[in-house]
């Protein structure tokens, strides 16, 4: 690796001071699983690296005051995968954490890194978008919150300014009679990158779907919501026909490229299939209710 200065801050304020001084030439490193390979092959040549591993404020994982979940930017994929509360109440998020890399990677890779690297295929983006998470961003002028659905601006680009950083995600509680799932297609389950990823999150009320959120990975320059598919479900009973229609609308929302992982046509097909499957599981999980919900298997 090329030489760089390494800063080892202990607090968020120290991080922000470092970013104010060296923001444009600095990179934040948490798990390093995306950053270090790019630095080793010369794609990134930061003059300064700021290590976040000593900043306790970024490692919060737990219930938000009242209701909901707080996930610190430096919480690892493995911690999300294994957290009992996340597995029970936010299974789509736990499932996405369990799919990142291998166990050696999941013990390092963080949710903040997954989002801030802003790969179109980021596994933790679709479930967090479907759960309507907000990104809490700190900068020199204080904090701001943006819906994660508007966080990504392009391939490897986000709304973060050079002197800002992601602090945590705040996820509202889905409420009773809600269910969700994240599925992705990869040729190999471990250490692979999504050909397509789909997260669905629904809420039932009085026999109809009162809320539906569907988010897609690896089929556009950023992770995207399939809003037409969501609207086709809301206020309706979730019959097999309506789920199939939502799958069709979701695949029409996809704008995939063809590359070595799959052709655009194959990706659109997968969006339809995975949307139907995740909606079907989300419906089943919502019907079981919070109490009767089984946890996804640990592996």
């Amino acid at each position: 690796m090329r030489r760089f200065d390494l800063a080892l801050p202990r607090s968020l304020d120290d991080c922000l001071k470092l970013l104010a001084e060296r923001g444009p030439e600095a990179k934040l490193v948490a798990g390093g699983t995306d950053l270090l390979p790019q630095m080793k092959n010369g794609l990134l040549k930061p003059a300064a690296v700021v290590d976040l591993s000593g900043v306790a404020d970024l490692r919060v994982l737990g219930r938000q005051n009242g209701a909901g979940l707080r996930v610190g930017a430096a919480v690892t994929a493995r911690e999300i995968e294994l957290d009992r509360h996340t597995r029970a109440a936010y299974p789509a998020l736990a499932e996405s954490g369990a799919l990142v890399g291998s166990v050696q990677i999941r013990n390092l890779a963080t949710v903040g890194g997954n989002l801030c690297n802003a790969a179109p295929s980021a596994d933790m983006a679709p479930p967090l978008m479907a759960l309507e998470a907000e990104a809490v961003i700190a900068g020199p002028r204080g904090r701001r919150r943006v819906p994660l659905s508007t966080f990504f601006t392009g391939v490897r680009r986000t709304v973060l300014a050079p002197d800002e950083m992601l602090v945590e995600l705040v996820v509202p509680a889905p409420g009773p009679r809600s269910g969700g799932q994240y599925l992705r297609h990869t040729p190999r389950r471990e250490l692979d990158i999504a050909v397509v990823g789909v997260a669905s999150q629904i809420t039932l009320s009085d026999g109809v779907c009162s809320k539906a959120r569907i988010a897609l990975a690896a089929v556009a320059p950023t992770p995207i919501r399939a809003t037409a598919a969501e609207q086709a479900l809301e206020g309706q009973p979730l019959t097999a026909e309506r789920i199939a229609r939502a799958g069709q609308l979701a695949l029409e929302a996809a704008r995939p490229i063809s590359d070595q992982r799959g052709s655009a046509d194959f990706r659109r097909h997968l969006v339809g299939v995975l949307t139907r499957r995740t909606l079907t599981t989300a419906l089943e999980r919502a019907g079981r209710g919070h109490e009767g919900r089984r946890e996804p298997p640990i592996r």
Partner: protein
């Protein structure tokens, strides 16, 4: 750029070593501390040959900056067992002749030791996923499964 002191617990021993801020934990272990059990295969976290335990959890040491281990505990294959008192996994791998070229073996054993510490009675599927982050170019996975299964069934795993 000046070297900095890395103070950490290495294989149960308080350790201080001077490292450049831009070296990985793997390079510090191999080049400065002469622990050559962890290997560099790919250097990008895909092969698992560099697996060590960081605070008891398996990680790809090629993706950790050495100074990120400050104040933490690191265990390499050299600290898992010792001559005359091998870890049950090391003993099983030797007895059953698991290694072929041997390059991946330290990483595989560290991944398996972490799995058994967390889940002493894994199913075969759980063992497969426990070492799914480790590539063996000799393709010697069958004997690895046999050895790990034997340890999982025969004796409670030691604290890794």
């Amino acid at each position: 750029m000046a070297k900095q002191v890395l103070s950490f617990m290495l294989n149960d021993t308080e350790t201080d070593v001077l490292v450049q801020p831009y070296v990985t934990l793997l390079d510090a272990l191999r080049e400065d501390l002469e622990l050559t059990g962890p290997k560099e295969g790919c250097g990008t976290g895909d092969c698992g040959a560099c697996t060590v335990h960081l605070d008891g959890k398996p990680v790809a040491s090629c993706l950790v900056l050495a100074l990120q281990a400050r104040g933490r505990s690191v265990r390499t294959i050299e600290g898992l067992g010792r001559f005359g008192a091998l870890h049950p996994l090391q003993d099983a791998f030797v007895r059953l002749g698991v290694p072929q070229c041997g390059f991946c073996i330290p990483g595989v054993i560290m991944a398996a030791a972490a799995l058994l510490a967390e889940n002493p009675r894994p199913t075969e599927e759980e063992i497969r996923y426990g070492i799914a982050g480790n590539l063996c170019r000799c393709t010697g996975y069958t004997k690895m499964l046999t050895a790990i299964s034997e340890v999982a069934g025969a004796a409670p795993a030691r604290e890794a």
